[in-house]
Symmetry: C2
């Protein structure tokens, strides 16, 4: 199997992402990344300008994917309950596709926002929030969702519950991402109380 050009670069990026996710960006050294790839640290700079450039590439493509998937959800679904479920599922699929990026963002946003180059993370976060709020507020307006809860608080609770699944959920044959999406949706929509 022939290796594409850019393959090597991709391996470095994957290795770096795994380390950033596990120990944090700040605590991960370029030497550790190089060691794991099997080259010397100086050689990394043939592929990337800096450690931050690696993080940047990881997170940029991450948010690009989120935008695309969220846009599709808004296109395809109209029913409030179905839309919220689709948003949960799309997010879990993003987590599955980019577990390292998700973890890096969740753990290190505060740190990264200290760098000028990562200020776009603010607008990326805002976009996600606006998408969820649109769906939740439409549901409330239609009378499908409760009016007595603060929509922004509902969003934040769902957001943290959904994205933090990255820390403990690994899809398996017995328990798929789709099944987890079902469980999360019914918990938040129908509640834990037996009827």
């Amino acid at each position: 199997m022939a290796r594409e050009p850019g393959d090597r670069r991709e391996i470095i990026l994957q290795t770096a992402a795994a380390l950033f996710a596990r120990k944090g960006v700040s605590a991960t050294t370029v030497r550790q990344i190089a060691d794991e790839v099997g080259i010397l640290s100086g050689s990394l700079y043939h592929h990337f300008d800096s450690k931050e450039a690696m993080v940047d590439e990881i997170l940029s493509s991450y948010f690009q994917d989120i935008r695309e998937r969220y846009a599709k959800v808004l296109e395809q679904e109209t029913d409030a309950r179905a839309r919220l479920h689709a948003l949960v599922l799309a997010s879990l699929e993003v987590v599955e596709a980019h577990p390292h990026a998700t973890e890096i963002y969740q753990n290190d946003v505060n740190y990264l926002l200290g760098f000028e180059r990562f200020s776009y993370l603010r607008s990326a976060g805002r976009y996600v929030q606006e998408t969820w709020l649109k769906v939740i507020e439409a549901g409330v307006a239609e009378g499908v969702f409760r009016k007595d809860l603060d929509t922004k608080i509902v969003y934040r609770l769902m957001r943290d519950a959904v994205w933090l699944t990255v820390r403990w959920f690994k899809p398996s044959k017995g328990y798929s991402t789709a099944k987890l999406a079902e469980e999360i949706t019914t918990l938040f929509l129908d509640g834990l109380t037996a009827r």
Copy 2:
């Protein structure tokens, strides 16, 4: 107002906690801590053995407080719904009392678990999980909570939603910690769907 002995130490610890919470433990330097306190970095070592010793003290007292509050909840409440609500409220009160420690733990557990001295964080996390699971499973056994959801998943979703409030919730006159506890409890128990 006379300053107690140990006051200075406490100020250093608070300053360090705020920095650790904002930028992460690894990215915070002892010099930054010292600067903010208004002394030189070397002087910190009169009060603490190392940077990690500061983190240790912050997190130890944090989990001690959690244990005490959780024990009280189990003592005082017996009804499943009331117990779950009390657990939510107790956790939010811990967040309010130790916002920095909460954030440090949430953001940096993975990194800290890389140090031998922080391995106790594993058992601390286990204790919290067991307490919640006890309450949730009792509710299911009593028929008050649904039987068709995975209790461990329900726990993890609630856990992340509750503890991550530290990132966005600041109690105010118009919106207290108690009110947020109500909102979280009714969302998880009764669901978002209008009836």
